[in-house]
Point group: C2
Chain length 253, copies 2
């Protein structure tokens, strides 16, 4: 078996976040698979085949890429941000587990990338500077009550929260509902950061507070960070700095 | 005020994780500040001054770098992994908040990097493929009972856990105690990953289970990931794949 599969994180948006390891893995591939807009962000090489698919077709894309690699090809699956955080690496692992035994013998490499929460946090200051949770608000693959339990647990225990998939056209109310849920546990002054299309030309970063946070400004390209009781805002010329101190004194609210 | 401060993440260990943005920020600096071993990992330029310090001197390093930038210099603070995750960005923000007003007028850029949890997860498969928490086990800056409350909350709500600072010479018992605490909530078969010095020549990645996890194999260069009830292990030739599926059905234990 000479096939090889790389699951490659290209970072959250800025081409200057594409690591040398990711660049090398993409260049070395015979075939590239991925969501169309991600494939458009990587440099083309004439001899490579390109297989673009919709972002709701993760399992089919994973299976097609694995089947291709099992034929002996060098295949790269291109993922936005980091492939291991709410992205393609888990779908590839699921496909390997449920697929033919030959897929388990494939050489698989996961290439890490700058995940959206790191990119948004960097723009704001250091909101993830102490304990935090990353949580998908999509209830396509888990019941909403599970998400509510996790919001309650994380907020009351003093974790900062980073929300992936906060809204989509098919999921318009989830982010507003999550803010309402958090208002039970956290003061209205708790800092909230909306990072939209960070690293791209259309980037918008908004710093507000939980009582003023308006879910309608978020879209599928937005990552949202909600602070803990410890998170602080430092006023200065321009956008304030938001950070969570390295020291913590209390957990429960 | 022409001074500029960049807080630059150089990634978790492999030079191929140094992003082009980080490389550019380091090259552009007149002065580099950082923990000695991190400074040794970045390329030298003759005209740059280098200011190495001990890893327990974060606040003094932050203040020295800010004072230097306030004189009009281009200063880069070099941080391992991502500067916003248990690293220098929060210390810089703290120093700005408590320092002279002129520091608030400085131009500050945070350059994200490949954090250790992303690097270790990539080696193992996709253990952070669904909701997860990042938690420092250091009780230097927070009481141990706060850490216990966060372990309880995260494990019972179904989050995967990534532990930063699991042990040090001065904190020998914390990781074993955290494993004991988690054994109250999670089955003994829950996957545990130790990633030591990932990306460096001396890298060792160990996959085990919560009932067998031996805290004594961890050191200061180790990041530990503990799965949730949903995390799966896929046997295959060599090291197994560990992943957390994208779908979740239950939260509480």
């Amino acid at each position: 078996m000479s096939g090889h599969l790389a699951v490659v994180g290209i970072g959250a948006g800025d081409v200057r976040w594409l690591t040398p390891e990711a660049q090398t893995a993409i260049e070395a591939a015979d075939a590239l698979y991925g969501y169309g807009p991600y494939l458009e962000r990587v440099p083309a090489r004439a001899e490579q085949s390109r297989h673009a698919s919709d972002n709701r077709e993760e399992m089919r894309r994973a299976e097609a890429a694995l089947a291709h690699a099992a034929q002996g090809a060098r295949v790269a699956v291109v993922s936005g941000g980091d492939p291991g955080v709410f992205a393609m690496a888990a779908a590839i692992c699921e496909a390997i587990e449920s697929g033919p035994p030959s897929w388990r013998a494939l050489e698989v490499t996961i290439v890490p990338g700058i995940s959206a929460m790191l990119a948004v946090a960097a723009r704001a200051g250091a909101p993830l500077g102490h304990d935090f949770c990353a949580l998908s608000l999509s209830d396509n693959l888990k019941p909403w009550n599970v998400i509510e339990q996790r919001l309650d647990a994380a907020a009351t225990a003093g974790f900062v929260l980073a929300f992936y998939n906060p809204v989509s056209r098919a999921r318009p109310w989830q982010l507003a509902s999550a803010f309402d849920r958090l208002r039970r546990h956290l003061p209205g002054t708790t800092p909230v950061i909306f990072g939209r299309a960070v690293g791209r030309a259309e980037e918008v970063v908004t710093v507000t507070s939980l009582d003023l946070a308006d879910a309608s400004i978020a879209d599928m390209a937005t990552l949202v960070i909600v602070g803990s009781r410890a998170t602080r805002v430092v006023a200065r010329p321009g956008r304030p700095l938001v950070y969570t101190p390295r020291a913590a004194t209390e957990a429960s609210t």
